[in-house]
C-alpha cells in the first residue's frame, strides 16, 4: 500500500475545489487576499486611531462587510451588462448630482449629500465608477486611439460630472472622477503630445482657476501646503502634526497603541483622512513600506487583469479602476506626508468612513467580474 500517495491525492483534490468555489463566486483569489489583509490592518490601525474605541471598529467592520457584499454582487454581473447599463447609469448619476445641488444637505459648508430618508447617499461616490464606465462605453466600439471629435465629446462627457462635483464643492472627489476619466482616455491610447499639450494648458489655466474658481478654504489649503509653518495653529496644524507623527515614527515605529502624536490627540482627523500618520507613527517606515507594497500588489493585479481582459470596455474600465486606486493612495499619503496639499481623499480601505469603502469594493467587484467572465479559448 502507498499511504503517502493517497495523502498527496487528498491534498491535490482540495485545491481545485477551492478554486472552483472561488470561480463559481467570480472571486479573484490574489485580489481577495490583498483586500482581506488590507482591511484587517485597517481595523487594527483604526482601533488605535480612535483611542481604542471598539464600537468604531465594529461599525467599520460592518461597512467592510457591506462593501464585501457589494463586491460579490458586482462580480456576478458580466462586463457586457455593465457596458449596456453604462449610458443609463451615467444619466441617472448626472440627475442625482444636479439634485444634490438643488435639494442636497449641507454639511460643513459643502452640499454633498442626498437624504433618501432611510439613508444618506453621496451621488459623487457613484460617479467615481459611473464616469469611467460611461467613457469606456463611449470609446469601446471605435478604433483606438480615438479621433479628435470623439475625444472632445469624451472630454465633455467627463467634464459634466467633474464640474457638478467641484461646485458642491468637493475638490477631492471631483479630482478622483477627473483622473478616472483621464485614465480611460490614457488607456485608450491618448497621444503623448496631446497629454503634454493639455498639461501645459492646465498650467496656463492655473492662475484663473486659482483666482476665480477656488473657494477660500481650498486656497488656504494650497497656501498652507506650500508653507505650513505660516499658520502653525490654524490650517497648517494638520500638516505639521502629521509630519511630526510620521517623522517621529522612525524606522520601526513607536508600537501599536503607543504613538504619542495620535494617542494624545495632537493629530487631527486621525481616524479618517490622516490615518496613515497614525499607522506610520506606530509601525514606522517598515510598516509604511509594507503597506505600500500591499497597495502596489493590488494595483499591479488590477493592471494585470485589465491587460488580460478580452474586450476594450473591460480593458479601459479595469485600467482606470486600478489607476484610480493608485490616485487614492498617492494623494492621501502625499498629503499626509506633506508632498501634496490637503484634499479630502481617504486612504483606501483603511480610513474610517462608509461611502468610499463601498465604492472601492465595487471597483474591485468589477475587476473580479472582468477577470472571471473571460471566455476560455483553451481548456
Amino acid at each position: 500500500m502507498q499511504p503517502s500517495r493517497s495523502q498527496f491525492q487528498y491534498s491535490n483534490y482540495k485545491v481545485p475545489l477551492f478554486q472552483q468555489w472561488l470561480q463559481q463566486l467570480h472571486m479573484d483569489f490574489p485580489l481577495l487576499i490583498g483586500i482581506f489583509v488590507l482591511a484587517l490592518t485597517g481595523l487594527f490601525v483604526l482601533y488605535s486611531a480612535t483611542g481604542q474605541d471598539i464600537g468604531a471598529v465594529q461599525k467599520q467592520a460592518i461597512r467592510l462587510g457591506f462593501g464585501f457584499i457589494t463586491m460579490i454582487m458586482l462580480a456576478q454581473l458580466r462586463p457586457q451588462t455593465l457596458q449596456r447599463w453604462a449610458p443609463r447609469l451615467y444619466l441617472v448619476g448626472i440627475i442625482l448630482l444636479a439634485l444634490v445641488l438643488l435639494v442636497g444637505i449641507e454639511v460643513k459648508g459643502a452640499q454633498r449629500w442626498l437624504d433618501l430618508y432611510f439613508l444618506r447617499f453621496q451621488p459623487s461616490e457613484l460617479m467615481k465608477l459611473v464616469a469611467p464606465m460611461a467613457l469606456a462605453w463611449f470609446l469601446a466600439d471605435v478604433g483606438l486611439p480615438p479621433r479628435p471629435w470623439r475625444l472632445i465629446a469624451s472630454l465633455a462627457l467627463l467634464a459634466l460630472p467633474v464640474a457638478l462635483v467641484a461646485v458642491e464643492p468637493d475638490l477631492g472627489t471631483s479630482l478622483l472622477i477627473a483622473s478616472a476619466g483621464f485614465f480611460v482616455l490614457f488607456m485608450a491610447g491618448l497621444r503623448w503630445r496631446l497629454i503634454g499639450g493639455a498639461s501645459l494648458l492646465l498650467v496656463a489655466l492655473a492662475w484663473p482657476i486659482w483666482q476665480y474658481m477656488l473657494r477660500d478654504y481650498q486656497r488656504s489649503r494650497v497656501i498652507t501646503f506650500l508653507n505650513p509653518e505660516n499658520d502653525p495653529l490654524g490650517a497648517g496644524y494638520h500638516i505639521i502634526q502629521s509630519k511630526i507623527a510620521i517623522g517621529s515614527g522612525g524606522l520601526f515605529g513607536k508600537g501599536w497603541l503607543n504613538g504619542t502624536q495620535s494617542q494624545l490627540d495632537f493629530l487631527p482627523e486621525r481616524h479618517t483622512d490622516f490615518i496613515f500618520a497614525v499607522f506610520s507613527e506606530e509601525f514606522g517606515m517598515m510598516g509604511a513600506v509594507m503597506l505600500l507594497i500591499l497597495y502596489l500588489f493590488l494595483i499591479s493585479r488590477g493592471l494585470y487583469i485589465a491587460a488580460q481582459a478580452q474586450d476594450t470596455f473591460s480593458r479601459l474600465l479595469g485600467g482606470s479602476i486600478s489607476l484610480t486606486f493608485l490616485v487614492y493612495v498617492f494623494v492621501n499619503i502625499g498629503m499626509v506626508s506633506g508632498l501634496l496639499p490637503v484634499v479630502g481623499v481617504p486612504l483606501p480601505l483603511i480610513s474610517y468612513g462608509g461611502t468610499s469603502i463601498v465604492t472601492l469594493m465595487a471597483g474591485f467587484g468589477i475587476l473580479m467580474s472582468i477577470h472571471t467572465h473571460r471566455k476560455m479559448l483553451a481548456p
Partner: protein
C-alpha cells in the same frame, strides 16, 4: 488610420499592453516617490521630528520643596507645616479673568487684598504658573468650588502645607514669619529655585536661614495631551526638603520670660555665657506671625503699624535703651584696671556731685539724702551715682569708650539675625563728627552712670553681662544650634586680658552683694540654693531739671523710667546671663529683677548641670 469605425484588434491590443506597462511604470515611480518621502521624514529627519513630538507632549513642571521645620533646643516645634487647601488659578487657561474672579467671589469669600495680591503676581509670573488666590479654604469652600470645578478651566484646589507658628506672639520676633514672595524677595535668592515656591522668609530666623529652610526645587517631567491635561509623570526629580533648624532657645523659658514681662513693654534676653547660646529672647508686645503667612489684611497691618507700642519692632535687637546703673560694674572694672580706684578707696556721697573747678551744676544721686561714705563695692551694691560720677571723670571718656567697646557696647553682636542695631557708644570723635561739638566733662559723668548718649540693645547688654560672667572670655551670641562651629575670635579682648583676676573677682562679688547683701538693690530676689550676681538699673527717659523732683504719680507712663536688671548665675561657673529691660517700668530692683529671677530660677532648676 482615418477609419474610425474599423477596429484593428492586433494594434489595439499592442497599444493597450503598451499603456498598461507604462501605467505600471508610472505606478512604480509614484510609489517610489512616496517611499523617498518616507525615508526623508522617518530616517533622515527622524531625530528632528522626535524632538518636535516630545516637545508636543512633554512639559517640565517645577515642584516646590517642603520648608524645613524650626524646633527649640528641646525639640519642641516652633514653626510647623500644616496641611491646608488653597485656591490657585492658571492664567493661560482662563479666558476672562475678571469674570472668573467675580464668579469665584460669589461662591466663596475672597477679600480685596487677596485679589490685590493675586493681581500683583499676575503681572510678573509666567502665564503657565499657578498663582494662589485664597489660602486656608475650609471644607465648605473646598466643596463649593469642587462642585463647579469642571466648568471653570484654570481653577485648581491645591492641597498644600501652610506655615504655622504655634507659639504665636511668644516667638514672633525670633522666628519672624514667611509671606508670599514678591519681586524684591527674588532679588536675594536664586529665582529659578523659587519657581514653585509661594512663600519666603520675610523676617527673623525665617529670613536669616532662608537658604537652609527652603530646600531645593524639584521637577516633574509630565506627559500632556493636546488639551494640556496631564497624562502621566515620565520622570521626576524629587525636591530636596529644607533642613530643619534647631534653635538654642528654650521654649519653656521663653514662655516664662514672656509671661514675666506681664503687660509691660520691654525685652528679656538670656544666654549661656559658656557658649553664647541664646536661651530666651523676648520682645514685648509681640504679634501673631500666623497673620502674615498668607498676606495680612491691610486693616490689621495698619493697626499693628500705628500701635504706639510698636509690636512689630524687635526690641531685643533693635531697641536702644540707656543702660542706666547696669553699666556700673563695667565702669568699676575700668576704674580698677586703670588704677583710678581700688578696693579701699572711699568717697563721701552727699546726694549730689559737683565737678571740681567746673561749673556749679549739681549732678544728682538717685538717693536724695546721699549714701554717705561708700567704696566701690557698696557703690555697686547700693548703686551710688556720686561714686561713679567721680570715677568716670577720673577715667575720662577716652578710656571709658574703648573699655566699654571691648565689652561689645556700641557694636553689633553678630547674632544670626537679619537686622540688629549697634546701639551707641559715645566718644570724643563721635561727638565731633555727629554733633559738631566738643566733648563736655558733664557728658562723661552721665556716661558713667549709663545715661546721656550711651545706648544699648537688650541683646548687647546680655552679651556684655555674659562676658563679665566669663571674666572677659568672648561670647558670640547665636540663635541656631551649630551656627557657630569654631570660635575664631580671640578668646579674650586684648584690653581685658591684662585685668587682674582679683579685679574680676571684686566686681563679681560686688554684683552678688546687689542680690545677697541686705543693702543690695535687688536683695528681694535672693535665694539660698545658688548665688546670683546682678545689677539693677533705672534709666531716665527724659532729663530732670536741676531742682525738680521725680514724682512717679505725676509723670505720664510714657515718660516713666525704664527698669533694668542684668544678672548671671551661679556666681561660680555661671551658666546663664540675663538682661531685662522694662520700658517705663520704674525701678530696676523692684520690677526688672524679679523677672530675671523667675527666668534664672527656672533655668537653674531645669538645668542642674
Amino acid at each position: 488610420m482615418r477609419r474610425e469605425q474599423l477596429k484593428d484588434h492586433f494594434s489595439e491590443t499592442r497599444l493597450f499592453t503598451n499603456r498598461a506597462i507604462i501605467s505600471l511604470l508610472g505606478v512604480l515611480v509614484l510609489v517610489a516617490l512616496l517611499v523617498t518621502r518616507l525615508v526623508y521624514l522617518q530616517i533622515i529627519d527622524h531625530s528632528h521630528y522626535t524632538t518636535l513630538s516630545d516637545d508636543n507632549r512633554v512639559k517640565l513642571a517645577p515642584v516646590g520643596p517642603t520648608r524645613g521645620l524650626i524646633y527649640d533646643r528641646n525639640g519642641i516645634v516652633l514653626a510647623d507645616n500644616l496641611p491646608a487647601y488653597r485656591l490657585e488659578l492658571t492664567p493661560e487657561k482662563v479666558e476672562d479673568m475678571e469674570s472668573l474672579l467675580t464668579q469665584l467671589g460669589d461662591l466663596i469669600k475672597i477679600q480685596e487684598h487677596d485679589i490685590k495680591q493675586f493681581k500683583k503676581q499676575l503681572k510678573h509670573r509666567h502665564k503657565s504658573d499657578n498663582i494662589p488666590l485664597r489660602f486656608h479654604l475650609n471644607d465648605v469652600e473646598v466643596a463649593k468650588i469642587a462642585s463647579i470645578h469642571h466648568r471653570l478651566p484654570g481653577v485648581e484646589i491645591v492641597a498644600s502645607l501652610n506655615r504655622h507658628y504655634p507659639f504665636k506672639d511668644i516667638f514672633a520676633h525670633v522666628l519672624g514669619y514667611i509671606g508670599r514672595k514678591d519681586i524684591k524677595d527674588l532679588e536675594r535668592v536664586d529665582a529659578a529655585n523659587y519657581r514653585a515656591t509661594s512663600h519666603i522668609g520675610k523676617t527673623g530666623i525665617e529670613k536669616q536661614y532662608e537658604w537652609e529652610l527652603h530646600g531645593e526645587i524639584g521637577s516633574r517631567q509630565i506627559e500632556i495631551n493636546a488639551q494640556g491635561r496631564v497624562i502621566r509623570v515620565l520622570q521626576q526629580t524629587v525636591p530636596r526638603t529644607g533642613s530643619d533648624i534647631h534653635l538654642t532657645i528654650d521654649a519653656q523659658l521663653q514662655a516664662i520670660a514672656h509671661n514675666a514681662l506681664g503687660l509691660h513693654n520691654g525685652s528679656i534676653v538670656a544666654l549661656d555665657p559658656r557658649d553664647g547660646q541664646i536661651l530666651t529672647m523676648v520682645s514685648k508686645p509681640g504679634f501673631n506671625p500666623n497673620q502674615f503667612v498668607n498676606g495680612i489684611a491691610y486693616k490689621d497691618y495698619d493697626a499693628l503699624r500705628n500701635n504706639d507700642s510698636q509690636p512689630l519692632y524687635n526690641r531685643a535687637m533693635l531697641g536702644r535703651y540707656p543702660p542706666g546703673s547696669t553699666i556700673k560694674p563695667f565702669m568699676g572694672l575700668a576704674g580698677l584696671k586703670y588704677g583710678i580706684t581700688n578696693e579701699h578707696y572711699e568717697i563721701f556721697c552727699p546726694g549730689y556731685y559737683i565737678i571740681p573747678f567746673g561749673e556749679k551744676r549739681k549732678f544728682r544721686d538717685w538717693k536724695k539724702t546721699g549714701h554717705g561714705s561708700v567704696d566701690l563695692d557698696s557703690s555697686i551694691t547700693q548703686s551710688c551715682d556720686v561714686y561713679f560720677y567721680d570715677l568716670a571723670l577720673n577715667l575720662s571718656i577716652d578710656r571709658i569708650s574703648p573699655f566699654l567697646k571691648s565689652f561689645g557696647f556700641g557694636q553689633k553682636t553678630g547674632v544670626d539675625m537679619p537686622i540688629e542695631n549697634a546701639g551707641l557708644l559715645p566718644s570724643r570723635a563721635w561727638k565731633k563728627k555727629n554733633r559738631k561739638q566738643p566733648w563736655f566733662p558733664g557728658e562723661t559723668l552721665n556716661t558713667g552712670i549709663g545715661q546721656g548718649f550711651l545706648l544699648t540693645t537688650p541683646l548687647q547688654l546680655a552679651t556684655a553681662t555674659a562676658k563679665l560672667a566669663n571674666k572677659g572670655k568672648a561670647v558670640q551670641p547665636h540663635l541656631v544650634r551649630g551656627a557657630i562651629s569654631v570660635q575664631t575670635k580671640p578668646k579674650i579682648d586684648p584690653l581685658l586680658r591684662k585685668i587682674q583676676p582679683n579685679h574680676w573677682q571684686y566686681i563679681i562679688k560686688s554684683m552678688s552683694h546687689v542680690v545677697h547683701n541686705h543693702r543690695g538693690t535687688a536683695r528681694r530676689i535672693a535665694n539660698k540654693k545658688f548665688k546670683v550676681a546682678g545689677k539693677t538699673g533705672t534709666a531716665q527717659v527724659f532729663g530732670i531739671k536741676q531742682e525738680e523732683e521725680y514724682d512717679v504719680e505725676k509723670v505720664a507712663i510714657k515718660l516713666r523710667d525704664h527698669a533694668l536688671f542684668i544678672a548671671f548665675a551661679p556666681v561660680k561657673n555661671p551658666r546663664i546671663a540675663v538682661a531685662v529691660i522694662v520700658e517705663n517700668g520704674g525701678s530696676g530692683g523692684s520690677v526688672a529683677a524679679p523677672m530675671a529671677s523667675k527666668i534664672i530660677n527656672h533655668y537653674m532648676a531645669s538645668n542642674p548641670k
